[in-house]
């Protein structure tokens, strides 16, 4: 997989991600992308309920959240996380990308939306945008990008 210039937190530590998707295969693919961005997977969840408890446990810098999942869908989980953690940064990652869904996710606190199949370069730009000034991009020369 292509390597990107590492995105680091302001304190120089790797960005920590919570990956939420009911598909183990999708989670592994996202984890590979995160690694190529210089990040670290702090936790994983396969449904919305587990995502909430994992968020409390890991306190990640960013959450990548699927929408269609068993037990509790991603939009509801995002809303609940943001209610208890107003600064939570949640990026919805779903194949179901119609306008109503995107608007509902954003209204309930998600910061961005990425449609599946995920292109690493698109996710990378979204991550940088969502982290804003709380992150910095290391020089590409050191990253081998």
């Amino acid at each position: 997989m292509e390597q990107f210039a590492p995105v680091k937190r302001k304190d120089g530590q790797p960005v920590r991600y919570l990956v939420v998707d009911d598909s183990v295969f999708a989670r592994k693919n996202l984890a590979r992308m995160i690694e190529s961005f210089g990040g670290q997977v702090a936790g994983e969840a396969g449904d919305g309920c587990t995502a909430i408890t994992e968020y409390d446990r890991t306190n990640p810098d960013i959450v990548l959240m699927d929408i269609t999942m068993p037990q509790m869908e991603g939009i509801e989980a995002a809303e609940r996380i943001v209610r208890s953690h107003p600064n939570a940064r949640i990026v919805m990652v779903s194949s179901v990308g119609y306008q109503d869904n995107i608007v509902a996710a954003l209204q309930r606190g998600a910061r961005h939306f990425v449609q599946k199949p995920v292109k690493p370069e698109v996710l990378y730009e979204v991550i940088k945008y969502v982290l804003g000034e709380d992150a910095s991009v290391a020089s590409a020369a050191g990253a081998g990008a």
Partner: protein, 166 residues
């Protein structure tokens, strides 16, 4: 099934498979089938409900599923039944999600249910209004089959018509 329902699935399958596998795809075979579904390999079923209701089955033979998994992961993966099932479910999820997105933007409102493995050898026989579209997509990793059986939800359609005439 009407063309307005079929075309988004054809477009989504072509786009998602070509993008995921980084290689062009082609439709090898497309037909309407009234006979019941018969499983070929590893199959995932996704149900949709709302203005249109029905189900879509994604069906891939095990060797093709492994090749697709490796291509999607960008590395050779060891053969495993769990991985094959995961791959087919995720592929189905992506293709159907993209098709539903397109239909939704045309004004149809749906709910997509999470994919489930379809383990029985046969499915229900199609009826007059749930005739299935069977599509075979040729990819660089092998053939991928998609069986789409959907119909308009008459009750929802009538409710909407009533609202419009009020």
């Amino acid at each position: 099934m009407r063309m307005e329902l079929i075309q988004p699935f054809i477009n989504a399958a072509d786009a998602v498979l070509a993008d995921s596998l980084q290689s062009p795809t082609s439709i090898a075979h497309l037909s309407m089938e009234e006979e019941g579904y018969r499983r070929r390999g590893v199959a995932a079923l996704i149900a949709v409900s709302g203005d249109i209701e029905g189900r879509i089955i994604f069906d891939v033979d095990p060797k093709t599923a492994m090749r697709v998994a490796s291509r999607m992961a960008g590395q050779e993966l060891p053969e495993s039944q769990e991985l094959m099932c995961e791959t087919v479910c995720e592929l189905a999820n992506q293709v159907i999600g993209n098709a539903i997105t397109s239909l939704n933007d045309q004004g149809f409102h749906f709910r997509v249910h999470p994919p489930e493995l379809h383990t029985s050898e046969h499915g229900d026989k199609s009826s007059e209004d749930t005739e299935a579209l069977v599509m075979c997509i040729e990819t660089c990793s092998g053939k991928v089959f998609m069986n789409v059986a959907m119909r308009y939800n008459r009750r929802r359609h009538e409710e909407r018509a009533a609202v419009v005439t009020e």
